[in-house]
Symmetry: C2
Subunit: 199 residues, 2 copies
Amino acid sequence: MPSPSGPDPTRRSERSRRAILTAAVELLGETGYNELTIEAIAARAGVGKQTIYRWWSGKGAVILDALSDAALAVDASMPDTGDIRTDLYAIIRPTVAELADPRLSATSRALSIETLSDEALAEQVRDRLLRPQLDAVKDRLRAAQLADQVRADVDLDQAVELLFGPMYYRWMFRTGPLSQEYADDVVDLALAAFGIARA
Amino acid sequence: MPSPSGPDPTRRSERSRRAILTAAVELLGETGYNELTIEAIAARAGVGKQTIYRWWSGKGAVILDALSDAALAVDASMPDTGDIRTDLYAIIRPTVAELADPRLSATSRALSIETLSDEALAEQVRDRLLRPQLDAVKDRLRAAQLADQVRADVDLDQAVELLFGPMYYRWMFRTGPLSQEYADDVVDLALAAFGIARA
């Protein structure tokens, strides 16, 4: 027997929310961030524009939620083979490859623009998208520190930025190639800074 | 006796160009990049909007020219005291201090947004604003390499990005404080990567 008040509004909201986020990710892949509009997301999701604006301030906020949901679904933990160099290659190579791909990096580009333009969104990008990855790498470096593979006096917050900062800079300002060889060089240079000479 | 064809049009153009660039820099300091408009620049410079659009594609391009002129006026060469650590402190401390200041870094923010949004402008920002500074630091590191203060196998392009990348990352994603202590740590960590232990 249907409830006299109709379908549960919470479940209906959750269904709309998922439809909107799915539509946003699909359209992002099809058209890229610049061409993405709230109108197109609403049409694809089968909701009204005002439904989206009730929950989100704009397309940056919608994409942030969509990517956070996706990130939560992926295990953020790092591999731990016992060899820090092997494990850092495994995390930095795909990150560089993603930045080297204009299609895959379109989202990073979009979120970087929003981060630079919107203070509130910047904090969310940092806390919901970047932090989980940075913390996973930091945990792995802490284990390496305990195993005497990283100097004890290395600040681990600075250490993760030494890994991610140079490649973001190179990607953002296009100062050089983003090849796998470069990815490995980034790791080797950082490890030299952490006190580990190349074998 | 005035020339029958009136004032020299090249000189008149140069005077307008300078007035526009000066107005742009003044307004940037007063209102910030987001509020900056071509209309306001034109009004301040005493020219028509169409004069600006004849020479520039938008405010990003005007600001880039204004800053390139200013950069040319500053000597891009590095100090060379013979001690690479001292010299790197001298260049990295003010760079971090500028990024830490919301007013001073508004321009970097604006140019970063334009760089991420506009491919043609990205190349100009890199070649006209970043390259001169990166090359000066690279030359200083090359001298340190010849003086056996930096390992011979260090790639100097990667070396300069190891200095500038982490602080841009921290500034952009607000992952930590931009203090003078941090600036010195960046230099010390990079020098450790280049093969120089802290004295």
